[in-house]
Each structure stands twice: as C-alpha cells, then as structure tokens.
C-alpha cells in the first residue's frame, strides 16, 4: 500500500504542473489581452496599461510569468480581484457555502442513487428497472439550468414549499432545493452505475459462494454484493466533482447562493477576467487534490490494490 500511495503521489506531480501550465497558457498566451479587456470598449491609457502589466508580471518573459504564477499558487497567493480584494479572502468567504451546497448534493446522490440503483440492479429487466433507466435518461438529457428554473418555479414560486432564493447566510434549509438541482445529474449517473455494477456482480462467484454458505440474503446483498459494487461508484464520485463544480456555477447563479460559483458567474457577466481565472484555477486545484484522495481511497476499498 505504501508503494501504491507513493507512486500515486509521484504521478500527480507532472499532472499538476501540466494542468497549471495549460491554464496559464490559456490565459496568457491566447490572443486576447487580459489588460485590454479590463478597459472594455474604452481606449486604454498607455501609462496605466504599463503599470498594470508590471503589476501582473505581464512584462516578464512567458517562462518567468509561469514560475511566478506557480509560486503564487503554491503560497496560496491567488492575486487580487477586480475590486482590489485579495482572492483568498473572498474565497474564504464563499468556499464554505459552496462546500455546504456540494455536501447536500453529495448526500442526495448517495441516499437516492445507491439504494434505487441497488433495487434496479437486483430486479434487472423488470418494470422498476426499465422505469428508472428511462427516468434517468430524461434527467441526463435536461440541462441543469433548465431543471433549476423549473424546480425553482414549481416548488419555490408556485407551491411555495421552500424559498425560491437563498439568503445571505445560506442556511441548510434553503440549500436543499439547490442541492437537489446540483445533484440531479449525478444522481442519475450514480443510479445507473450502481445498477449495472450490482446486476453484473450478482453473477460473480463470491456471491454464489456466500449464498451457498447459507448466509441470509440480506447479508449477501449488503456486505458482499454492495460493497464490491460500490468501487466504480466511488471513482465516479471523485471524477464527478469536476462536473459538480461546473454545475455549482449554474446552480448558485439561479438560486443566488453566495458561493464560489456565484462569484465566478458574476465575474463572467461583468467581464472581470482576472477574478474568473483565479477562482477557476483554485477549483481546478481542488479537483486535482480531490481526485488524488479518491485514488488513495481506492486502496482502502480494493484489497487487490492494497497488497499489490
């Protein structure tokens, strides 16, 4: 297991530098000029442009800019937002809200996706199975912002069960509906993944062995079958975090959740390129680290990796 962890950490290094270099190149080497875009339609004063260039190290050669950028990322110095606040401060304010929202979405995914997927997998080919497959297909096809608006309109406005928008403090109660919207796509994936995995492992030798040992069906299903079927689901949940963060930009903008996604959305709308880039960079870092953790979790779940 130690070797596995070490190997994984080492493999992470080129991916980390490659991914940051890629983002860096997208921002600074593509045709658009981030400084000029700050001025929008107006003509820029050359003196101010020069000053800003020096401030953002844009007058340095490209390789040195990248090193300075990496240095900033590693020391948690993500620069300042358009309004002059350090990015790290506004991150510190917005991040807890987004994490709370993501946790609500995650909980819904697990509480709905796994049990329903398990039942569908156990009854493969019957009505319940076909019904859930069709239902998830529909959920997958409807873009998240459409689901968001429809649920906000029906549950929030027409029925009035919950508040249609989230308050400044973002209490948990208000986050239930946005969390459901954010998690809806992944619920469908988790459900389908669990279902296929369960249906397939149902025919595995170890399930037959467990049954023929005389174990009660409930124990066979929960301890033997489900645990082994969840391995691909865990992988998915890790990789899904990327989609979840993209979805958070949409969900938070629809429900006015004062989190990271909302900040990014507002910055896009106001054309604050530097804010967008620094926030997205942070999200990509979080994604990389989360996937590293999932890979390590793998070893805990799958003994074949642990002893390899």
């Amino acid at each position: 297991m130690g070797r596995y962890v070490l190997r994984r950490l080492l493999q992470m290094i080129p991916v980390f530098f490659g991914a940051t270099l890629l983002i860096f190149l997208m921002v600074y080497a593509l045709p658009g000029d981030p400084i000029e875009s700050l001025f929008g339609e107006r003509a820029a004063d050359p003196a101010i442009v020069a000053q800003l260039r020096a401030e953002y190290n844009l007058d340095e050669p490209l390789w040195k800019q990248y090193l300075l950028y990496i240095q900033g990322v590693l020391t948690l110095d993500f620069g300042t937002t358009f309004s002059g606040q350090p990015v790290i401060d506004s991150l510190a304010r917005a991040f807890p809200v987004t994490i709370k929202l993501a946790l609500v979405a995650f909980t819904i995914q697990i509480l709905v996706g796994i049990p329903v997927g398990l039942i569908a997998g156990l009854r493969r080919g019957r009505f319940f199975d076909s019904f859930t497959l069709a239902a998830t297909l529909v959920v997958i096809s409807i873009p998240i912002f459409v689901i968001g608006f429809v649920l906000q309109f029906v549950i929030g406005v027409k029925l009035g069960w919950v508040k249609p928008t989230v308050g400044a403090e973002a209490p948990l109660r208000d986050l239930l509906l946005p969390g459901l919207v954010l998690g809806s796509l992944s619920v469908a994936y988790v459900l389908r993944l669990t279902r296929t995995s369960v249906a397939e492992n149902l025919r595995a030798d170890y399930v037959r062995t467990a049954t023929s040992k005389g174990l009660p069906r409930q124990r066979v299903v929960t301890v033997h079958l489900l645990r082994n079927s969840l391995i691909p689901v865990v992988t998915f949940l890790g990789a899904d975090l990327g989609a979840l963060m993209g979805g958070a930009i949409i969900t938070e903008s629809i429900f006015n959740v004062p989190g990271v996604g909302f900040t990014i959305f507002r910055a896009i709308r106001l054309g604050e390129a530097t804010t967008v880039v620094s926030f997205v960079t942070v999200l990509v870092m979080v994604y990389l680290i989360a996937n590293l953790i999932v890979d390590l979790l793998y070893a805990v779940l799958d003994p074949r990796i642990r002893y390899a």
């Binding site: 873009p143 994936y189 799958d302």
Partner: protein
Amino acid sequence: MPDRNDDDERGTAFPGPGREGGAENPLRTDDVMVESPTGAGLRGRGHEDDVVTGKPRSLWSDAWHDLIRKPVFVGASLLILALTIIAVAPGLFTDTDPKFCDLQFSNQTAQAGHPFGYDRQGCDIYSRVLHGARPSISVGLLVTLGAVLVGGSVGALAGFYGGLVDSLLSRLTDVFFAIPLLLGAIVFLQAFPQRNVWTVVLALVVLGWTQIARIMRGAVISVKEADYVVAARALGASNMRILLRHVLPNAIAPVIVVATISLGIYIVAEATLSFLGIGLPPSTVSWGGDISNAQVSLRSAPHVLLFPAAALSITVLSFIMLGDAVRDALDPRLR
C-alpha cells in the same frame, strides 16, 4: 487520474472475442456513464449469443439488424433527421425573422401565426426556437468531429506504438483530462474578446478530446495483437497500412458509441456556456442564450423559457438515446 489507463485496457477490450472478464474486474468503470471519467467500458462480445442461421454476419451488419428493429433507435433517428432539416433550413418552417422584434408584443402568449408567443423583447419564440437549432447542432457535430480526430489520433498512436510514445501521449492526455470541461472552457473563452461558433468549438475540442483518446488507446491495444494483425505484418505490410486497414476498423466501435453520446453532452456544454454569457455572442440566436434571457421574466411569463428549454432537452435526449441504442447493439452482453 493517471493509473486509470490500466482500467481502460481491460475495460475497452472490444471486440476481442470471448473476453468475459467483466465480473472479475471490479475496477472496470461502466458504460452507463455518459461522461465516464475512465472511458466508458465496452466489454468483450461473447460468441454464445449468435444462433447460427446460414451465413455469419459481421459485427456491423449484426448491429444494424438489431438497431432497425428497436423503436428507440428509429424514434431517435427520426427526431435527429427532423432536427437536422430544421437546422439546415429553418426558413422552410417559418417566414418570421427571429431577430425582428416588436416590444408591444413583449411576453405575450400564443396567438394566430405565432404558436409559441413572444419573448421579452417581443420576438417570435417559434421562429427563434427553429433558428436556434443550427448553432446548437453545428457546435455539437463539429466538437464531436474534432474530438474524434484529435483524440482518435492520439489514442491510436499511443496504443499502437506503445513504449515511449505511449508514455508521452498518455501523460499529455492526463494533463488535459485533469481540467474539468466547463471550468476549462470558461478560462479558454475568457481569452477571446470576440466569440463565435468556432471559438466555442475550439474550446470544447481542446478540453474534450481526452475521453476519446483513452478509449481509442484501449481499443487499439486490445486488437493490435490479434492474429490478422500478425498475419498482415508477416506479409510485410507497413505500420501505417496495418494501423489504417487492420487495427482502426476493428477498434473504432467503442469510439463511435462514446462519440454519439458525447454529441449530446457537447450540445449541453455549448448551451451552458451561452447561458453563462461566455459562449455564443448575444447576436447569435441560440437556445442557451434565449433561456438565459427568459430567466428575467420567469415568474410572469414562464412560456418564454419553456420552448427553447424543451427544444434543447429533446435534442440532447435524441442523441443520448441514439448512443444508448447503438451501444446496446454493439455490445449485446449488456442486455
């Protein structure tokens, strides 16, 4: 992340005959995922389900015979055909200019000659929905094409040559794979002050080719040791000829499946970017942009949002159903 390449090798063994390895391989991620992080796995195709009646059919004609008997496939194909016609020639179905707007009709509901009513600016929604098909569908098609070309080449070269080429190309794939599609596309598009269909396509191709590359690599690895490849090599065929004539035709099936399903995903991605205001420019009539504009008056005029949203969802659903049906036909073991 990096090591998942190994899963792909096992996961995409296709159409390697008689590989029934699914059950012993819990690391295999499954094909139910449309945006599978590890590459949708298509497994080996068993021999036993072929009841021999006369001449044996090839994989493709077998799949085709399966497909035309499936209502889902026929339905999805007809819908896509209809959508394509609308995208190519929206003028066949409406004479109203989607950009002609009259504020006095703002947010009015359906009336004679305007079956979907008017949006906030007083533009005809029916006409805008029809004209919005073209950018959505062309972005979807172009991105899929680009992703198959880039990802297919990278994956095929990595899988075929192996060794150093494989290591380098696979690490490159890992780097691009590490950046989530939507987040990366936002950063990418932020760099372009003038955005149009092509910049959106470029952004999605640059960030979206990795999945195809991984699947292609796995599929090529699984067929490159096959007897017919060895035979071709023994006959003195060049590497290029072996790759193009023998390996690729036998490794392309899983790529086609994933490409069809991702087409729907790319349409959603484009609509999402346009919705965020960073995709297609406001001057382009697009479903994502119209949905975004409709949100302002959602409470008083929900119909303005309903029609473009429904059009978008139906389009995506058609492509995903088509991909689902094709996958079932190419991989009968799933049923």
